[in-house]
């Protein structure tokens, strides 16, 4: 007699029972499956989109930089560095500089100044790759002269102006010749969303905004010739400009991917929380389902079934529920992936392709299954505690619980340790870092313990209250409360999972806030910093009313030379002098 066919035979019977049990109660698990699907969907959607975006960044790297090689510079090149650049030019490598800075702009129609990001380019050569779209359509070289600009639609709206009108920048008038629709290298520039002005370098010169101490960001774009190897050019630049960020078309811009990566990790962890809540739901539904199947379990035991054999039935049910959640979730994830580019369209000119990656499907399914099975494990293991002697009793009793503290602690640890470990591995995988996974799991463990303790205390004090209450409670209330701490009651786990849900919602909120704070405070120094101060008229001392600043403290502010944003005469009433550090 070989054992293998026996095993499949039993699995077959287990599958029969499992499928029939699930089919008999289709509604019972619907919501928990949907909850798992939401988690898996969010997870695979986020990761799928992230991958698609990354591959787009790589595929369109030239377009996104508008160049073969890009270098970010804070200071003007020294004579030595200029020599290197000239040597490259002599080789036929075309170079152009893009300057971005922030200023205020007004029109006669809209006296309240608007903050704008100014981007100055050389319209004869820029962009090396991709194209600027203007409305009405026209070539960049025609459009951008020393006294003209193109402005983004939202700016035109805010300034209550339009193409053909003029706006003021740095005290000079500029004619708006076109609306700026798209820029290929939008993501490589200033990360600030909002109003944009595109102008020629001559026009920027005219504004007088760029002077010593102004914090403009410069990008040098290079177009290679077939004879100039990218590696060679890059290494020469690196030698001449140590510390400068130099990116070529074969890699993604770390300035963009850093943001993408941290948002991916953050959103993945949020999705994981959704998955946890869904898995907890499956576990609890399974627990109550098995509670109803105790007689079946006892019968099987009485006719010779070992606990492990019976567990197959409920393991199969759990796996199927997890799979159902996973499949639904993958479908949902595909929808999320499709929706994402629409949501962030303003940053991405070109939509990333929808990539259907089997590895992400597999990963989403694996995460859904693993967390469902992990959380259901304690319920599954309760099969061992169902006493076969139940078959002799007409009335059904509760399962025995392991008695005594050491035994209970041991059995809790036997379930809890692998659960936490397994979960930790999922978190490490999703966070793509041992540290993040560790923190996440530690946080989960700590909060589970804290919530259990709170739930236990709550139930204990309720019991004490019921015993010690000097007055008589109505019998229905008394029974209702007594039911909460009856052995085998699910009040404690229900409280805990409710708590997990609430707590994580709160955590997500707080973390999201701190991530935004983090992005603001950790932005690379070459990004412009600005401060706005309002000076109240007729007072000799300036009083700061409102300040938005990343790093600029008053001290630093004072130590920096600042340019003054001159306003048109109509605006120059002393009530609103706005000083800018640009």
């Amino acid at each position: 007699m070989n054992r293998a066919p026996q095993k499949t035979l039993l699995w077959r019977t287990a599958a029969k029972i499992a499928s029939r049990e699930l089919r008999a109660t289709p509604g019972k698990f619907l919501f928990v499956v949907l909850a798992v699907a939401a988690g898996v969907g969010a997870l695979s959607g986020v990761r799928g989109f992230s991958m698609a975006a990354r591959s787009m960044l790589l595929r369109d790297a030239r377009k996104l930089m508008a160049a073969d090689v890009m270098m970010r510079l804070r200071e003007a090149p020294s004579a030595e560095q200029k020599a290197t650049l000239d040597a490259l030019s002599a080789q036929g490598i075309v170079r152009t500089t893009i300057t971005e800075t922030i200023s205020m702009s007004v029109t006669t129609g809209a006296p309240v100044p608007q903050m704008v990001t100014i981007k100055a380019v050389d319209p004869r050569v820029y962009p090396f790759y991709g194209a600027i779209t203007l409305a009405p359509p026209q070539s960049l070289a025609e459009a951008l002269r020393a006294d003209t600009v193109a402005a983004s639609d939202d700016l035109l709206q805010r300034l209550k102006t339009g193409v053909g009108q003029t706006l003021r920048l740095g005290g000079k008038d500029f004619r708006i010749v076109a609306a700026l629709i798209t820029e290929p290298d939008r993501l490589s520039g200033n990360p600030m969303a909002g109003a944009r002005i595109l102008m020629s370098r001559d026009a920027l010169e005219r504004t007088g905004l760029i002077g010593p101490g102004s914090r403009a960001q410069n990008r040098l774009l290079f177009r290679l010739t077939p004879s100039a190897g990218v590696e060679d050019v890059k290494s020469r630049l690196q030698k001449a400009f140590p510390g400068a960020q130099i990116i070529d078309y074969r890699e993604t811009d770390p300035g963009i991917t850093r943001g993408l990566d941290s948002s991916t990790v953050f959103l993945s962890l949020v999705s994981l929380v959704a998955l946890i809540v869904g898995s907890l739901g499956v576990a609890m539904a399974m627990h109550s389902h098995m509670q109803q199947k105790m007689d079946t379990i006892a019968i099987m035991k009485s006719i010779g079934a070992r606990s492990g054999q019976i567990m197959r039935i409920y393991l199969l049910e759990t796996v199927w529920l997890g799979l159902a959640g996973g499949v639904l979730g993958i479908a949902l994830g595909a929808a999320v992936q499709r929706a994402f580019p629409v949501l962030i369209q303003r940053f991405f000119d070109q939509r990333p392709d929808i990539v259907w990656s089997w590895s992400f499907v597999a990963q989403g399914m694996a995460a859904g299954l693993a967390s469902t099975v992990l959380f259901t494990l304690p319920a599954l293991l309760r099969v061992r505690r169902v006493r076969p002697v139940l078959v002799l009793r007409r009335e059904m009793e509760e399962t025995t619980s392991a008695s005594g503290f050491p035994a209970r602690a041991k059995s809790t640890a036997a379930i809890g340790v692998p659960l936490i470990l397994g979960f930790g591995l999922i978190a490490v995988w999703i966070g793509n870092s041992w540290e993040i996974g560790g923190y996440f799991t530690g946080g989960l463990l700590a909060s589970l313990l804290a919530l259990s303790a709170v739930a236990w205390l709550l139930l204990r004090s309720l019991r004490w209250f019921l015993r010690a209450a000097p007055w008589k409670l109505p019998p229905t209330l008394r029974h209702g409360i007594a039911n909460l701490y009856r052995p085998g009651n699910q009040a404690q786990p229900v409280l805990v999972s409710l708590g997990v849900g609430v707590m994580f919602t709160l955590t997500v909120f707080l973390v999201q806030r701190s991530i935004v704070g983090d992005i603001v405070s950790k932005a690379p120094p070459e990004r412009p910093t600005f401060s706005l101060w309002t000076f109240v008229p007729n007072k000799s001392r300036a009083s700061p009313r409102w300040s938005k600043s990343r790093r600029a403290s008053t001290a630093r502010w004072n130590s920096h030379p600042r340019s003054r944003c001159a306003l048109p005469p109509s605006m120059a009433s002393p009530s609103k002098t706005i000083r800018m550090k640009t």
């Binding site: 007699m1 029939r20 009485s302 006719i303 010779g304 070992r306 061992r384 002697v389 078959v391 007409r394």
Partner: protein, 232 residues
């Protein structure tokens, strides 16, 4: 005849903690049952019959004493080993049938064999179902069968693995007289045919009259144990 008893209980007690006080349900049971014997266990309700049966079958552990089944000490065995032993050695018939609701009659009958890891023998299952008159109903689920029919399926299941011992706890307790008689006749017939040792718990003197030995329990103690000529 084999000299070794099929079932041997020595000094078996069972007490149950009920809140603060301890209730002794069985107080020192000594019982030795040779292979092939048909024993009726009788007694008033609450005298401990089911509890004793549960202990002898290894469904529950005694508080003290020893129980040997077919020469094997079972009171020290752990869960899984006990389950294996039950699967090999004991067929059960319960008052409330205890079929698996999600399996058909035939699948219920086949289950003990599958669980014991001895493959499936659909021929034997069909033969047994045929014997209890349910060949036509073998693809029906328990809910589609009457009480008497369910108990006949349970009977077929109990004999599936040819266990040396059959234990029945009020097998006709939920049935009317005619159905009860039919089930009992089948039980005795199969028992004769398969030569099992039979332990039958019953209130019913008439049922007990079929047994070769009658054990009477009162308040957890054996108060009489007599051999009798079975009336056939």
């Amino acid at each position: 005849m084999n000299s070794r008893p099929m079932i041997q209980a020595t000094g078996v007690t069972k007490s149950i903690r009920n809140g603060a006080h301890c209730v002794e349900i069985l107080k020192g049971i000594n019982l030795s049952i040779p292979a092939g014997q048909f024993v009726a266990i009788m007694g008033a309700s609450g005298s401990g019959k089911s509890t004793l049966l549960g202990l002898l079958a290894g469904l529950d552990a005694p508080s003290s004493g020893s129980i040997m089944l077919d020469g094997e000490e079972i009171s020290q065995l752990e869960e899984d080993a006990l389950a294996r032993l039950r699967g090999r050695k004991i067929g059960f018939v319960f008052q409330s049938y205890q079929l698996i609701p999600t399996l058909t009659a035939e699948e219920n009958v086949l289950l003990p064999m599958e669980l014991s890891g001895n493959g499936e023998d659909p021929g034997r299952a069909r033969e047994l179902l045929d014997h209890v008159g349910l060949a036509e109903r073998r693809h029906h689920y328990p809910v589609q069968l009457s009480g008497g029919e369910q108990q006949r399926v349970a009977l077929a299941r109990a004999f599936m693995v040819r266990p040396p011992i059959l234990m029945a706890d009020e097998p006709t307790g939920n049935l009317d007289t005619a159905n009860g008689r039919h089930v009992l006749d089948l039980l005795l017939d199969l028992n004769r045919h398969e030569k099992t040792t039979l332990l039958l718990v019953t209130h019913d003197r008439d049922l007990a009259a079929n047994a070769g030995r009658r054990v009477l329990l009162r308040d957890g103690e054996i108060v009489s144990d007599e051999l009798q000529a079975p009336n056939e």
